[in-house]
Symmetry: C2
Subunit: 764 residues, 2 copies
């Protein structure tokens, strides 16, 4: 019987049984974190934990980082010398409460009832405790926290006291603590192993009741400000060392309710000219506005968001809730300011050091592209904003021209210290371009292409000419790269890389022609800025045209890379299934020499490109499926979507269930380090790209539904070139649009303008 039972509904409640084990508290710190794309605050208990508890007490700003020197036992040319990591900020969460002299603690007195959750409709997290203190005073205490989607710098923690049997004084001690460190793990390569404070406190004072903190990272020299104010104001305020505290007290009588709101405003010097003054100005405004109004504003914001983004599933309430939880976390993670994107764990934890990887483009942005193209555009702009760093990286890697997208980064520099599974993943160049191209197809936003995207697409495309070469048979080959499957490294002609590079180069030329046709002046400007030459254009077309895609003639499948078919089989039968993920149990060379996959690779290319005939994709799927451990959270969703694509409903459903519950059920045992945001994107895609079978093609949107048998219908919306399209897939398909569109269901195109119901046949 599981200790934890989680229930949720679109009303947003997730209710848990009382489980105060350390392990689960760390998990819940992640699951109930509050974020708005700019700031993220983990759901730590305001009042703290027993001293033997381990907690990742964290507040973060998206794109706020510290630099650190990377050391190598043996270094080589082009190994990055400096890495970056997201910084744990000053902790504004601290609130301690005394009731009749009894210190409130979840681990003391008696908990009569306990309710904790994240309201994804209203946009706040809450914790409600009906508590009897050791002296017998009974009080209901509700904590609520919000990070505002409207004013991104703002977080509010509200505490609402309702006395049940107590008349007397309640004392509230609220703190801001500047002595913070990042979380460290010595054993897990996926968590950083550094200790120590990353920031110097530069200002810590109280002015007119306002706590003013300013700190700066020691090496990257980026300032962060935290201004805090309480309503009602605190009676006593103290500054000491790295800490500021305030105390207030008030009388309460049975049945009465009292409330304290703690306003926190985070600012940073990348996005603010003066962190303190900007912070104070924002604070003053939101305090005038009042906490209640901020909560209302949050609801309104989300109402609009859900009208675009909500996924409805008739027939499985739990899945609907889990998918929408994922959708909410995508929003909560998405940077909307300059130099920020979506990191692997969003703002929910420190796993992967807050780095941005390829999964943003391949797994997360698709949701935004379909439902919130403006947000998608912001996210895609990040690679344009950091293009200079990518060009500099290309030079470090020996390329005279072009840009090399870093494998993991915050500011745009390469932060990967293990190139076989880092810089060797050249496919990220194509992945970034792919997301931009998909955005273009859906939006036809040519001005974004001209202003930003094309330059990124072209600069990243020209690298392929230097990476690859034509062999004696005239085929274009790309050697010594690593594909998405990191259980095979530094290989030749990785199918995924080659196929994506082909798409990339083709589209670079296609977009160039389109821009030239529609805006010749813009074309000339770009041509001159980028230094595009006729010979290079020819080469890009020829390389795309002659791209070598490994194929096994006997098995009639696409081949992961040149040596893959001849590898030693992994002994799945004798192997201890507990030794997962393999990367935590085996030396890389042991993994590399065996025929075993961490995650979808060739199958992912088939999913993204839909470029082979159905039978090849089907056989390839079955071949690779047997060899895949799914040690990466990026894998099951792809196997789910491709199962749907090849008509295997049960498999699609089974893999989907592993995706949609991955964090909620802590399937990878590391959700404490943060949510798997790419997997959250995968959960959304599992519905829309998987069961509804949506694909973005040059001709328009195609769907090929294959619903799980027990589900009555799924409903979702998307925007196609500005027109909203709401699709309900059940036995039939109902389409409601805000204007005229074409939509293909299986192989047949329908014109819709308003509402239309069409029938379909899965075997078509």
């Amino acid at each position: 019987m599981p200790l934890l039972m989680m229930e949720s509904n679109m009303g947003g409640k997730m209710i848990m049984r009382i489980d105060l084990s350390n392990e689960n508290l760390m998990l819940h710190e992640t699951l109930y974190f509050t974020g708005n794309g700019y700031i993220g605050i983990r759901a730590n208990f305001e009042e703290g934990y027993p001293s033997d508890y381990d907690s990742i007490r964290g507040s973060y700003i998206n794109g706020y980082y510290e630099s650190y020197p990377i050391t190598y036992g043996e270094s080589a040319v082009g190994f990055p010398k400096v890495g970056e990591k997201m910084v744990n900020l000053m902790d504004g969460q601290g609130i301690r409460i005394k009731i009749g002299g009894d210190q409130f603690s979840m681990f003391d007195g008696q908990i009569n009832a306990f309710d904790r959750g994240l309201d994804i409709e209203k946009g706040y997290a809450y914790r409600i405790i009906d508590w009897t203190s050791p002296s017998g005073h009974r009080m209901k205490i509700e904590f609520r926290r919000l990070t505002s989607f409207v004013v991104k710098e703002v977080a509010v923690i509200s505490v609402i006291f309702t006395s049940i049997n107590y008349d007397g004084v309640v004392e509230v001690l609220s703190s801001v603590e500047g002595e913070v460190t990042n979380y460290a793990s010595e054993d897990d390569p996926r968590v950083a192993d550094d200790h120590g404070m990353l920031m110097d406190i530069q200002q810590n004072e109280i002015l007119g009741g306002t706590v003013i903190f300013k700190a700066s990272t020691k090496r990257s020299n980026i300032e962060v400000g935290l201004c805090a104010l309480h309503e009602p104001r605190m009676h006593q305020m103290m500054v000491g060392g790295h800490r500021s505290e305030g105390i207030t007290d008030f009388n309460i009588t049975k049945g009465e309710s009292k409330r304290v709101d703690k306003y926190l405003v985070f600012t940073d010097s990348i996005r603010h000219t003066d962190v303190t003054n900007d912070g104070l100005a924002i604070l003053s405004k939101v305090v005038d506005q009042g906490a209640r109004d901020l909560y209302d504003q949050q609801s309104l914001y989300l109402e609009e968001f859900w009208s675009r983004s909500k996924v409805e599933i008739l027939g499985n309430q739990a899945v609907e809730e889990a998918v929408n939880y994922s959708v909410y976390q995508l929003l909560a993670s998405a940077g909307t300011s300059k130099q920020s994107q979506i990191s692997a764990k969003g703002l929910s934890g420190e796993g992967y050091e807050g780095h941005y990887f390829w999964d943003t483009e391949i797994y997360m942005i698709p949701f935004f592209t379909l439902t919130n193209p403006e947000l998608a555009k912001n996210l895609l702009s990040y690679r344009y904003d950091t293009l200079d760093a990518a060009k500099a990286r290309a030079r470090e890697m020996g390329h005279a021209l072009g840009a090399k997208i870093p494998w993991r980064t915050i500011s745009g520099i390469e932060s990967s210290a293990y190139f076989p599974a880092g810089s060797a993943q050249y496919h990220i160049n194509a992945d970034v371009a792919y997301a931009m191209i998909q955005y273009y197809i859906v939006t036809k936003d040519l001005s974004f292409m001209i202003q930003k995207a094309f330059e990124v697409i072209y600069e990243t495309a020209r690298i392929w000419l230097d990476m690859g070469h034509f062999d004696e048979e005239g085929r274009f080959r790309i050697h010594s790269v690593t594909g998405p499957d990191e259980y095979t490294a530094i290989v030749n002609n990785n199918y995924y890389t080659n196929a994506m590079a082909q798409y990339h180069m083709k589209w670079a030329m296609k977009l160039l022609n389109t821009i030239s046709d529609y805006d010749f002046e813009a074309f000339k400007t770009l041509e001159s800025k980028i230094g595009i030459k006729a010979r290079e254009m020819d080469m890009l077309l020829r390389a795309a045209d002659k791209m070598y895609l490994p194929f096994d003639k006997k098995k009639r499948i696409s081949v992961q890379d040149d040596g893959f078919m001849e590898k030693k089989p992994w002994d799945f039968e004798s192997e201890d299934e507990k030794k997962r993920p393999l990367l935590l149990h085996f030396h890389p060379l042991t993994i590399y020499r065996h025929q075993v996959l961490k995650q979808a690779d060739t199958v992912l290319a088939h999913f993204l490109l839909d470029n082979e005939d159905d039978e090849i994709m089907k056989r390839s799927y079955h071949f690779y499926e047997k060899l895949t451990t799914h040690d990466s959270s990026l894998s099951p969703c792809v196997y789910s979507m491709m199962a749907a694509r090849i008509g295997e409903g049960q498999k699609a459903y089974d893999y989907f269930m592993k995706t949609v519950r991955l964090d909620l059920d802590n399937l990878h045992h590391n959700t404490k380090d943060g949510l798997h945001i790419a997997n959250a994107g995968g959960a959304y895609m599992g519905i829309v790209y998987g069961f509804a079978g949506l694909r973005i093609t040059e001709d328009g949107i195609v769907i090929r539904p294959l619903l799980p048998k027990k589900w009555q219908s799924i409903t979702f919306s998307y925007f196609y070139q500005g027109i909203k399209v709401k699709v309900t897939v059940g036995k039939k398909i109902k389409i409601v649009t805000s204007g005229p569109i074409s939509l293909c269901v299986y192989n047949r195109w329908y014109e819709v303008d308003g509402e239309r119901t069409v029938t379909y046949n899965e075997s078509n």
Copy 2:
């Protein structure tokens, strides 16, 4: 016009013009170092240098190391956590001299004549300066240093004063300095980049005129002792901080000579039970014996050594001297005590941190195997002594059985922090076995096989069964390894690796049968100790039999690895030739994806195994030669020897000249970090294996001479199964033996017992 002119003859004199540039002094610190296989002392000026000079002032003990933690930007399972480095010991070199109040310095006063050299016949280094002090006192000062081949712990520095125009007091201040650090370089990956003292001084006192130093490494906790005494005794002795000093003075008159001998005894706790007491006992003995006797003893030792080892070349004196210089350095580097072997730089510098690599077995031991089999046996025993560590390493790398020889090590643990060019070089297992097998063939020393070697050979052989697998066509394949050519990494079916593994497995079984035939009890003991099973024996035979050796049918050449022929060509024409070695200018991935070699790989296999027909070896040679940069010092000698093998005399000569002069002419610009001892081995082999064409085969010794046109003859000796064979190859071949042997010249076998002259034809 070169500043430095070096001359040498078998009398051992190398005379240089006066060149006191910093760069050349660092080079000469290496070239004139004194070593005896146990201790090595760089040829630093006793009196020191100007303060702006950079010097690598170093004394070392073979196999004496400190441990240090290896850090990784991103770590993974099986990455070594601890590395080792050779420690720079307490400095006993310091001797300062005052003549009439003038401090002797090469950079002050006037140098009337200067002679410096290494006498390889007598076994000491010397520096003779005819100096006029600033006040006009003229004195000849001769420094001599010896590290005894007979009593390995002992070094002596003698200073001989001969007054030319001075009557008065000479003051000598002699010191032992404990505050020493290893040399550090931040930029060059081939030199360690660590700073700081590696040892704690535990004892520093003077007892009865004897300086007694004891120190211990901070982490590995290995003690080192240094006891020093002067003859004549010092007048005043002082201990202060990390330093001990003694002062003596004496009167000298014109024409008179005086002498001071400084005795230094180094001991360490790996090889001595009590470093201080053992050191004092040895010191007392050698002081009684007297310095002159130590010099005489050294001459006698070397007389015996040269009688076995000398190479004579009629027609090129300079080459003869350079080859014998190399031969001497092999001796000076060769460990003869437990847990020591030959490091990449011997004891002449700190490059590669004093680590032992595969080159000991492949490039250095062949000289000993042929000329000094007892020393060879000692060197080969090292892998037996450290077999437990190699077995533990195999487990770390995921092998349930067997031993994995570390790529670089001192104590036997893996110290390589970059596995693509470290642990991935599984060929080292076969290299070690190869050297043992060659030793066996030459000596027929079955008892060494039974006692030590066979266990190493078998434990290292069984790894291949886990590394490789049989493919659908029944061929045995080995994936994800790196061959000797580190410009290509983590490849499949590296020709060198596969061919050497084949030889390795065949011989493991052959030796097993031999032992079983000759000593069944020993066989049973080994079978049980190693856990040899019939099934494994079958598999070893089958894997060897079915080994896949890549071959290009069109070009009819052996292929370096599965993907090699399809790689992108390196643009040798446009490339700046100054960008060498490539590894200091290009990211590994840039190098890996191109068809370019650092060093002989397939060609080395052809050299060692002589396993393909002549035409295939010839074509392969020409194919790979064009692609090889020779960025490794291990390369030109192999290209020289194989050129001789395929009948291309001019090429053989040209590559040989690059080998034989590599350190003397500082061709790699890094001889300051130490001699390239493998290259020294290569210089010897260039004569014996190259121009004489010697090969050790199961049937006996084969020679296929191909002399450089301008040489009249080469003479060398070897021992075959205890019989001394002296061979002079000129127009004819003169063979002198101490007993009956068979010798094959080209394809014809000759019986010799005593003396015989045979004719030969190169085109045979």
